[in-house]
Symmetry: C2
Subunit: 454 residues, 2 copies
């Protein structure tokens, strides 16, 4: 199934310690995408990108800003990884492999790119970083790599400063930038109109919090006046925060904006480390945006040896009744606050609207059985929904205790009898420490015959 | 074993909604300790305390300051729980019970106190709180209680403002206030000298971080010029941060200073809730400071039904070699950074100084066997000590993988053969999420015969 074709050219830079401006170019296998890297004056790493001789990304800066923290490699004397770089060398290589996804739209995927690795040194900090570009026929990915080295063992990313300079005032299909939720409706506007339309893009969904008046989410799909489709996103997002985009709407330059932790730090890095890929997909055919495998190719290969348990299914579920019909996840309206293991649900008045009840779920099971759906999802089956949201509450759910009106044993057996599986919903409510504590017992419950985890 | 004698007097305050200043007094069973509560002008809760007609605590304020947070009960309109209270009533009661500790210095402990419960209402916030005092022959405890109520379901403690106003410039036996470590040497000085001696009290221990130039730790032991011994501490510290003390050294008033989280919040409270007890032990006999059972009595009763596995032992251990002789916990000096599961310790050069090695621990086992010590503690036995500290590193230890020079199976068997148990050290390094993830496997390892957890 695999065919590989790798060629490598390594170019040692003879004038490594000079301040001469360097530039390298790498093209896609079909030559349509052209990516150029250069160190601008002051040792600033930049790149630009063209597609069929049209500019996609104008010259844009690259770099990161570590936090000045006493626990970083250089402590409070931490310096920026933004400029004063010299180029030590670069490598050009090609790669061509066809691989088989566990599941997906196609049985095989071709991973075919040309690569440029640029090795940079920042003499004042004695640090080496690598910027790697992979150029595909439908776009490119770039990432930062930090080899393990004495001057860079541990650092904290305060900000990443990857820029995507747009050529014009493109049409964008955007969601308001938000660390917590993608539950927005897609807005369509010129880039210059984002600021003006931001307020109207926000609903009364209490999960929504914006980080900037021109902040948008990735993936960001755009269309240019001269017929190009451009998508900015990321791949291989591992041990690093999600990248959003903040628009400088005077210059039409997007800058990476990472999800923050509580104190404003973005990532705690131990070298060797690679950031996720920053991806730009481009085409003059809108269909190629959906057909692209660029992000799948840049993701890490599957690490699981047994993937037999992964398979797509069709399901229906107790969910849209709440989302679309305003019914509650909760069992009662009487409890302003729930203490798991103490609150006695048999003593409260049911609200009578709770859709995750035995009779209703039985109806869904019958529907699934009749219509060839393999599973039935149930949300709101377990105790705790009365105060699950917005209280900094840690012990929100135990993932094993059903509401009094949800006969989990009976429903599991009934589903089994009808040839359907129950799909049990786990709502972490953002309380990951609580979820990790209950994982073991929660999964044991699902080892009852025919459960499936959602 | 138990004898109880409880009497309750409930006094409804007829003038509950007036602004008349109230005062209640409760004495210790022997009458020596006198505790008075009063609402000062503006509805400020205060208390004072005497011992044998000498003032121990001058009139001192009580109260808390919730954070103005969108997730608190009253959101950004959160109000202080410091003043504008009215007294709705109070209860006086007595309690006398003798109970049996799981282990300790005495086989039984008498819990004998008189109690004052003050029920306060803050009309502007529609909130009710309770301040409860328990007065013993050797001191008192006070705590705040928050009944569940619509106006106070969830709140965040920004600061607690419990004061302990000293009568004079007492002699204090103090440690620098620090959220992370008690690894300081005890300083002895007048209260007025703490500020001047703070710098010298701090060593180059990198764990040490001070929160205030006059901040000290609890328990704080003092001696007065007129022959009293006073100790300020806390009891029943559950779901709430440790209380330190910050000294106003102009007025000799200590104020509670709670350990903070990363964003400056102190506690995330869901009602009903009680804070820990704030304790003041007092005597004119220094020996009573150690003999006091006040804190044990104010702690919650043991919730375990099976306590047969809890028993005191004597042990020696591989620990002081590092603390006192400067030897390393680590196996090698070659690794500036460790990746658990990836770093190959068999390929690095041992530092040759690592005391947690098979031969040395065998020597300790022999010593323990010869001298009737039941267990041998070993620190530094497991991989990860090369970079365990000060890097915001989450995956620090796995608690199951020994260094190449520590033959855990052999040592376990050898200890068993000599009638001694190995006591395995778990260093969380503050990374509690990592520890929780490994608990299951770590405890499984200790189910090998004769291990014991430290």
């Amino acid at each position: 199934m695999k065919r590989k074709n790798i060629s490598v050219v390594f170019v040692a830079t003879l004038l490594a310690f000079s301040s001469v401006v360097k530039a390298q170019t790498v093209k896609s296998p079909d030559g349509n995408v052209v990516l150029s890297f250069s160190l601008k004056e002051g040792g600033m790493p930049t790149y630009e990108m063209n597609y069929k001789n049209k500019s996609v990304i104008k010259p844009s800066r690259l770099g990161l800003e570590p936090a000045r923290d006493k626990h970083a490699s250089k402590g409070l004397n931490e310096t920026d990884l933004m400029e004063r770089f010299i180029e030590m060398g670069y490598k050009l290589s090609s790669f061509d492999e066809t691989w088989k996804p566990v599941w997906g739209e196609t049985s095989t995927i071709r991973n075919h790119y040309n690569e440029l690795e640029v090795d940079l040194n920042q003499p004042n900090s004695k640090r080496n970083i690598v910027i790697r570009f992979r150029v595909y026929n439908d776009g490119m990915g770039l990432r930062y790599e930090f080899p393990q080295q004495n001057a860079l063992n541990y650092f904290i990313v305060k900000r990443e400063h990857t820029q995507f300079a747009m050529v014009g005032d493109h049409t964008a299909f955007w969601l308001s930038g938000d660390y917590d939720t993608q539950e927005y409706e897609t807005q369509i506007s010129k880039l210059s109109e984002i600021r003006g339309k931001m307020k109207a893009a926000i609903t009364d969904n209490p999960s929504q919090t914006q980080f900037s008046p021109t902040g948008v989410q990735t993936s960001l799909q755009m269309k240019t006046a001269n017929g190009l489709y451009i998508n900015i996103h990321e791949a291989a997002l591992v041990n690093y925060p999600t990248m959003h985009l903040n628009l400088d709407d005077k210059n039409m330059v997007f800058k990476s904006w990472l999800t923050s932790d509580a104190v404003g730090n973005k990532a705690y890095v131990q070298t060797p480390f690679c950031t996720p890929w920053r991806t730009v997909i481009v085409s003059d055919d809108a269909r190629q945006m959906l057909a692209s495998n660029l992000i799948l190719n840049l993701n890490e290969p599957c690490k699981l040896t047994d993937t037999s348990w992964i398979h797509p299914i069709k399901y229906c579920g107790v969910w849209w009744e709440m989302i679309a019909s305003g019914k509650p996840w909760s069992y009662t309206f009487e409890l302003p606050s729930v203490h798991l293991g103490i609150t006695n649900y048999t003593k409260v008045k049911p609200n009578g609207l709770h859709p995750a009840n035995t009779e209703n779920v039985k109806r869904y099971i019958d529907f699934a059985a009749k219509n060839g759906l393999q599973e039935v999802l149930v949300e709101g089956w377990n105790v705790g929904w009365e105060d699950w949201f917005g209280h900094w509450k840690e012990s929100v759910f135990d993932f094993v205790t059903p509401y009094p009106d949800f006969d989990i044993k009976y429903l599991n057996e009934y589903a089994h009898f009808r040839g359907v599986k129950l799909m049990i919903h786990h709502e972490t409510s953002g309380s990951t420490t609580n979820y990790e504590r209950h994982l073991e017992e929660a999964y044991k419950l699902m080892r009852m015959p025919v459960f499936r985890y959602s």
